[in-house]
């Protein structure tokens, strides 16, 4: 037979280098590491809290150094760009809202998410006495 379809190789490990779209996706996906880190940081905090005031204060003190400042600052920016904002942007795809014969324009859903997000953030700041 003369047919001999040619299958182009796809690298299973470096495929995302093929274009910017894929790289952005990978940058989003690895935010899970940050989530993991902060989950365990928080658990650590809870452990300190459970152990009493001294341990708690010790925990707070242990966090106060330049390395952590840099890390948190980086994490905050990275997380906002690649996880939070992306998640809000994609929300209307997963949960479209149809009103009668028209879809609610995506931007309203996105705005609603931002409003809710601001509210949650402010609430937490208020709760923790930051503001």
């Amino acid at each position: 037979m003369s047919r001999q379809p040619y299958v182009r190789p796809v690298s299973k490990t470096t495929w995302y280098m093929r274009n910017g779209r894929y790289r952005k996706y990978m940058l989003r996906e690895v935010t899970c590491l940050l989530v993991g880190v902060y989950c365990f940081l928080t658990i650590w905090a809870l452990a300190a809290l459970a152990a009493g005031a001294d341990t708690w204060n010790g925990f707070l003190a242990s966090q106060q150094n330049t390395v952590m400042v840099v890390f948190h600052a980086f994490a905050l920016v990275y997380f906002l760009i690649y996880q939070a904002f992306d998640w809000f942007k994609l929300a209307p795809k997963a949960m479209p809202v149809q009103l009668g014969e028209k879809k609610l324009p995506d931007r309203y859903i996105i705005i609603a998410h931002y409003v809710a997000w601001a509210f949650v953030s402010l609430f937490v700041f208020w709760l923790t006495g930051v503001i």
Binding site: S2, Q4, R21, L90, P96
Partner: protein, 246 residues
């Protein structure tokens, strides 16, 4: 109208001659309003009649002219040279085996189309043969966008999960299943559940979103797939909770 000399670097592959694909360059005098497809037709008519590619309608509706244009899955009758640099690389759609030149093997997706059960399934009697179903405009609007797919397979060429594992059912077919699931006339959702149940179904999608970005018809298959996942998750709880009662 002014002319513009374009250089097309076209991927060629003739299984009877070549072990692997290679690029061939053509210098084509293009008119400003040409689409890439016109440039290919110029090559075929005037330079090299052996070049093989698919096309028919030249009006973005038959879906046959999908190719990679400078690395981007595109309908070539909808991709205009005015938006491109002087040198353009044209390859067959990625993630499909190359049959010949720019023609790819579509068997896999054509077979998967069947799996979506893309037809109305009814358990109740349909209306008599002289009477249509009533369907509100809102109900029509709900699924209309997913009927616009021309099966150009650009989304498959863009989806890395399909590239990594071609058993994944993939964007267009899932969007089609979703189209029928949410059609008010259809009652076959439960029969299409294996697309949700199976590992090759919606769960292989990691929401890269590339499919929707390249879709020339704004079908937004990524949205369809996410909605199916939500449906699937809801259904799971329903079965778990309902299962206890029955």
């Amino acid at each position: 109208m002014s002319m513009r000399q374009m250089e097309l670097e076209v991927m060629r592959y003739d299984p009877e001659q070549d072990d692997e694909p290679h690029f061939q360059s053509y210098s084509v005098p293009c008119e400003d309003d040409w689409a890439i497809l016109d440039a290919l037709n110029y090559v075929k008519e005037n330079i090299d009649t052996t070049l093989a590619y698919r096309w028919s309608c030249h009006m973005m509706v038959c879906g046959s002219c999908g190719m990679m244009v400078n690395g981007e899955p595109s309908l070539t009758c909808k991709t205009f040279i005015r938006d491109l640099p002087d040198k353009v690389r044209i390859e067959p759609l990625e993630n499909f085996p190359i049959e010949r030149d720019l023609v790819v093997v579509l068997d896999d997706v054509m077979e998967k189309l069947r799996m979506a059960k893309p037809f109305i399934i009814r358990h109740d009697e349909p209306p008599p043969e002289d009477q249509e179903y009533t369907q509100s405009r809102a109900a029509l609007y709900k699924f209309k966008q997913y009927t616009m797919c021309v099966n150009c397979m650009c989304c498959y060429a863009a989806c890395p999960q399909y590239a990594l594992d071609s058993s994944f059912i993939g964007p267009a077919v899932l969007a089609l299943a979703h189209r029928y699931n949410i059609d008010s006339r259809d009652q076959g959702k439960s029969e299409r559940l294996d697309l949700l149940a199976d590992h090759d179904g919606v769960w292989e999608c990691s929401f890269v979103g590339a499919c929707s970005e390249v879709c020339p018809k704004s079908v937004d298959p990524a949205a369809a797939v996410q909605q199916m996942k939500i449906d699937g998750a809801k259904e799971w709880w329903k079965q778990k909770l309902g299962g206890g009662k029955s």
